[in-house]
């Protein structure tokens, strides 16, 4: 299969600080690729280089075989992007912004745009300045999907969207994938990436630390469990799948991967009186699996 994106030894330095350092990454055409990492990991820097907005210090980045810096305007006819900050022209209405973005891109599927406006429930005769952040984000998402590009680059695109609209977004990504379009989705929302992506790469402090199919992600996903006891806290260190055990007086906090049954049995035997569970954030997962590292 042909490559949509090929990145080799890509480095971007700001003075002595490397925002990304020696990145190697290949994304195939037609893939929905999740690009994950905590804030400041270098995701947006990578995307800015791919969009030809900033220049790499060294290394190379190619999209559909063309250099992202030298061939930017020609490449951009085959691409569409949504940045995480939805800053648009406040005096324009939503409809005017969509028309303008469509004209700038040069290719719009009008019928699909109308359909997306309905599905995202966007009121288009309001001025952008009267929109919420989520509605401004919808304008950019509709403009990007309606241009039917070969490659969609989406940088934290669902910031500000409610759960219902998140579902509409995921459906649009699946439709794009079904049409053979390539999608690069930057996110730090695990469930979003899990729902739509074929492969993922994980970035931390400018370095790729994992690349592979969703199993990589699933291997990381753990449940964080907090249990309180009337009496003493049982020893959980030997229980299957349990890690990162922290005891505090009459309570314990730990992570569990795989089946929760051994842990539940141990907690019940130990006399647990209260139990709470939650999914750890991406940042917590990174810290627990790859260590705290050096914070910038």
């Amino acid at each position: 299969m042909a490559h949509a994106i090929e990145i080799e030894q890509l480095t971007k330095r700001y003075g002595s600080v490397a925002a990304i350092d020696g990145l190697d990454l290949t994304i195939d055409e037609g893939e929905v690729f999740g690009y994950l990492g905590p804030n400041g990991a270098g995701k947006s820097t990578t995307i800015a280089i791919l969009l030809g907005l900033i220049r790499a210090t060294s290394g190379s980045a190619r999209i559909f075989g063309q250099d992202v810096w030298r061939e930017a305007p020609a490449l951009h006819r085959r691409m569409a992007s949504v940045p995480s900050e939805a800053n648009l022209w406040p005096a324009l209405t939503g409809e005017e912004a969509l028309r303008f973005l469509g004209n700038v891109h040069g290719s719009v599927d009008e019928a699909y745009r109308t359909e997306l406006i309905e599905r995202f429930q966007l009121v288009t005769d309001k001025r952008i300045r009267a929109y919420s952040h989520g509605n401004r984000q919808k304008v950019l998402l509709i403009a990007a999907f309606a241009s039917r590009p070969d490659l969609l680059i989406l940088d934290e695109p669902t910031t500000g969207l409610d759960p219902l609209m998140e579902q509409v977004f995921q459906a649009a990504v699946r439709e794009a994938a079904a049409n053979g379009q390539t999608v690069l989705l930057c996110s730090h929302i695990l469930s979003e990436v899990e729902a739509v992506c074929d492969r993922v790469a994980m970035l931390r402090e400018g370095h790729l630390i994992e690349t592979g199919h969703l199993d990589v992600l699933r291997g990381l996903v753990a449940l964080r469990v907090h249990a309180a006891f009337d009496g003493s806290v049982p020893d959980l260190s030997g229980v299957d799948g349990v890690t990162h055990v922290a005891v505090d007086a009459s309570s314990v906090e730990c992570e569990v991967t795989g089946s929760v049954e051994p842990l539940l049995r141990a907690l019940a035997d130990g006399g647990a009186v209260r139990l709470t569970t939650r999914e750890p954030s991406l940042e917590e997962l990174f810290v627990s699996h790859y260590g705290a590292g050096s914070e910038a």
């Binding site: 030809g52 907005l53 951009h76 648009l88």
Partner: protein, 535 residues
Amino acid sequence: MSRSPEAAIARRSLKQLWLGAVIWSVAFGGTVAASAVSYVSTFPTEAERQQVAAATSGDAGLSVLLGPTTAIDTVGGYTVYKCFVFLTTIGAIWGLLAATRLLRGEEDAGRWQLVLSGSTRAGRATAATLLALLAGVGILFVGTTVLTVAAGRDPDVGFGIAESVLYGLSIVIAPAVFVMVGAVTSQLCRTRRMASSWAMGVFGACFLVRMVADAGPDTHWLRWATPFGWTELIEPFTGNDAWPLLPAIVAVVVLAVAAVALSARRDAGSSVFASNDVTELRPFGLASPLGLAARLDLPILIAWCLGALVTGLSFGLIAKIATGAVPESLSDTLDRFGAGGSFVEQYFGVAFLLAATVVALIAAGQLGAASDEESTGRLVHLLAGPVRRATWFGGRLGLAAAGIVVAGLLAGVGAWAGAVTQGVDLGFGPLVGAGLNVVPTALLVLGIGAVVLALAPRAAAVTVYVVVIGSLLVDLLASMVDGLAWTARISVFHSMALAPASSPDPGTLAVTTVLGVGLCALATLLFVRRDVALG
């Protein structure tokens, strides 16, 4: 240690406006000092002063246009008359634009809401911003007063410290009051542009009332009705009456209280006047980035072009009065600017130097808008699409250049029309030519600003202001102080012929134009190669 959030708000606001205030305060003080020094060198004898006073005092037309002419036979009276319209107009517009930028502009951008989510309330945050704006007015006062006192140390000028302080206070009445006008319209209107437009409307109304008040003795009582009238009534250096400061203080306090009260009573992001946030599609300007830039910036460009037209018209209207009775020494002064020809041609030559300032400043507004497009992240939507960087950057510069050419043309047409109504006819061609003569210099300024935009976008507009105002001051001082004559070489206006008094040299015009366009091309090359600010 706990620190007051209002102090932080005031500090941040002051940080946003202090540089502009310092630049204008030096420009204000420099203008006052130059006027005083030039008067004593142009009219060294009592007889010459009486002669110019006799030619101007009691002339209702001159009073309507430029203010009181009653004490032109004194250094102080002439200085007040010469600077009155220029300084009060610029001061008022600076004040109202600064207020709408720091209040409604911040709210438009959503930053005000962020401020209000801290441990403060809308009324207190507004009051803190107003204090910072008043500190900016204080900077204007200090700059004007210090340079006036410095000029007054010349025994021939002889301004006392107390009367110089009173003069400084009279000059900052307009900026102080119009800061508060801008603060109130920022509460009334939904957008910064609307708030500025309403405040400009109040300014226009006050200006008209001032003109009526100066039309004759029957209407002099109207001087008590506007900030411009209060400035006149103080009569610095001659009457030295401090009482008109009282209505100015009352107006500032009442408007400030109104702005704070209105801000405390409304929702953040809303306005007292209902806003039109739902509207029909208007397709104009949606076809391309240049089209959208034209659509969004056209009102501002039209305002600048009208400003150039009115500037030319004003100089044309007073051409006859200004050149009717002049001593040899004034001709000598104009000669020192390098102007030749008849006296009325010399007058227009220097008038177009001032018109060139207005035309050249168009670059500041357009470069500021381009910088804003980048810093807010909106440029990313264009450059992440198939828009070439050079196309966007060149389009922006082209729009500014078009505005400059039209403004230069209108300045010439205005000067011709104004002069013709007064029976002064130098011919349509020479005066329109004189208007177009300022265009290459303005393009050079645009080129300098464009290079800064390509390297450090946020500094571009400020650079243009510094270059243009600095060059004007250097030209004024170099023409008046023999020891500073060499400094004229660093002015961008140095190579500009003072048409119609001097014939523009085609070679110089071509070199200046090529230099301006060449700098724009260099700037485009630099921009194409640098990283885009990511908002």
